[in-house]
Symmetry: C2
Subunit: 334 residues, 2 copies
């Protein structure tokens, strides 16, 4: 069997604080042709996601951490170049979790066909994929948001937040979102149809939240942590629900920063705060995909992308997540 | 109608930080005889409880704050001296919320007969009353503890904690409790039948929790907040539940202290943290009382009391809650 050439991005150093380009290495490699049950896939789109930062430490959390000297795994969409798997054919578009590489050969069982008639291929890394599913779970399963309620979403212009805002609005909720640039706020107001503000221009976040929603929020969808969580807790209504989805503000902290000084209101307001991870809820994914495909078809959910080009740019795209370089889903196009 | 003499304790200054004796005043007063529908009650036992500290600020939380120059309301058990209420007779033992005073006249509707055959009168301020009910709710309704699970209870020798530990043990859970003196630890081991440690002698709380329960806790019953909550979060199992009952460690803080730096594990471990207040669950109180009466009758729940004598001692008893002067329920006997 003739060897096939590919390039991969490996994690070669465990960063403390913000990762640097030198923590990654581009590695030329050769892979064998597919054997029985395997497929060969050429990636078209790679996903970079905030959760990946958590996998760079040595501690096991809900999955194993990245191994040094191995590829940065994660979501990717590609096209089947050769198949020896009964359910996959050459030319199929597929979603995998094999990460930052041009090409791979792997068992066809871990490679999932996607339907480009429902959404563009890269949307399966965003609105139709893990971030969209995360937003859907946070709104419906964890936050149990209902029509007529008020919700605050931080990181509202991100891959998860932007979908969460629109699902909440569709439900008939009052939606307030925070984002880190005027351009993002504009997108949220014009395209997502919600009330939004630029938190970098706000001196006192809690007062801003009171201005936006005098009676307080029923649900807070937290993608940020830190000062956002602290202010949001104070602005909750009694019996409110706090959806703990992400804390991007502290993923690069060397030492974990202090938690919210307002936490005691979780007692006086009788709040429920619940952390979740999408992959625990796999049984709901078909329902999510059917619903989301319908919303997309009817133009009820919009999305935007920030695209970096070329495998080499994956580390820069990833780092851009932490400076807020993305509006909507951050992607790498190969 | 001849005036009746009583003495009351008023809040006369809103403390910042730890309250001082001068924040309270003993006031001699006279009250009118009961009119139709009213009763006259002579108090026998007064309750001092940590939640009272939260009512000394000006902010409304789940109830109105105390008013300056008015009586410190709260649980009390007394005997009916005169009744013009159809359901109450002279000599009846009753529970009220009229607080720190020798005697009062009030509508009979807010005064509840208690049964001294089920438990001694003062137990209706502790194991059979609000603290016991709070413990019961935290274990069953909020924590949803199950047989075979492991639970950590902080403030384990307090009025709530000591009951929570025993309910958990009865359920067949592994119970670890923390308390602030060797005497309390002794009581917890000998009388409550649980594993306990003196947190003041522990250098590294998280490591202690790992030693006590290597696989982590399914439930943490938090009465303390602060460093206890921070360490407990780290020691939780995936999908654990955190019962946010109290944060006595910070009730006297002038400025709210930083929250737990470990809060991010609420996401990676998919924790549910839920604050609650007993009075939201009044519909469950009859069930609680029936169950608790049965447990007491069979000797399955024990309790202890720390008693101060005389109305004048109520502020000192109250302040003692914050230095850990009580094992079990803190009471004032008149």
């Amino acid at each position: 069997m003739a060897p096939i050439r590919s390039r991969e991005i490996h994690l070669v150093n465990r960063p403390e604080g913000l990762p640097e380009p030198g923590d990654f290495a581009i590695v030329e490699t050769t892979i064998d042709e597919p054997r029985d049950g395997e497929v060969q896939v050429r990636n078209l789109w790679l996903s970079v996601d905030p959760y990946m930062r958590g996998l760079m430490w040595t501690t096991r959390t809900y999955v194993d951490p990245y191994h040094l000297g191995e590829v940065m795994t994660g979501g990717a969409v590609g096209t089947v170049e050769a198949s020896r798997h009964p359910k996959l054919s050459e030319g199929d578009l597929v979603l995998s979790n094999h990460g930052w590489r041009d090409r791979f050969v792997a068992s066809g069982d871990g490679v999932h066909p996607i339907d480009p008639n429902l959404a563009p291929p890269q949307a399966y890394l965003g609105v139709m994929g893990m971030p969209g599913f995360t937003a859907w779970l946070g709104i419906h399963e964890i936050g149990r948001l209902e029509a007529g309620e008020a919700i605050f979403v931080s990181g509202a212009a991100g891959a998860v937040g932007s979908v969460a805002c629109q699902l909440a609005r569709r439900l008939g909720a009052k939606v307030v979102g925070s984002a880190g640039s005027d351009e993002k706020v504009q997108w949220l107001q014009d395209k997502a149809g919600i009330t939004a503000f630029n938190y970098r221009k706000v001196k006192h976040l809690y007062r801003q939240l009171v201005r936006e929603c005098r009676d307080g929020f029923h649900v807070y969808f937290d993608n940020v942590g830190g000062g956002h969580l602290e202010a949001a807790l104070l602005s909750m209504r009694d019996f409110g629900r706090v959806v703990l989805c992400g804390m991007i503000g502290q993923y690069n902290a060397d030492h974990p920063p202090a938690g919210p000084s307002s936490l005691i209101v979780a007692i006086t307001k009788r709040l429920t705060m619940r952390g979740f991870i999408a992959f625990d809820h796999a049984e709901l994914e078909p329902r999510f995909q059917a619903e989301m495909a319908g919303l997309i078809a009817r133009g009820h959910v919009r999305w935007t992308e920030t695209v970096y080009d070329g495998l080499d740019s994956a580390p820069a795209a990833f780092l851009g997540l932490f400076s807020g370089a993305n509006t909507g889903k951050m992607l790498v196009r190969l």
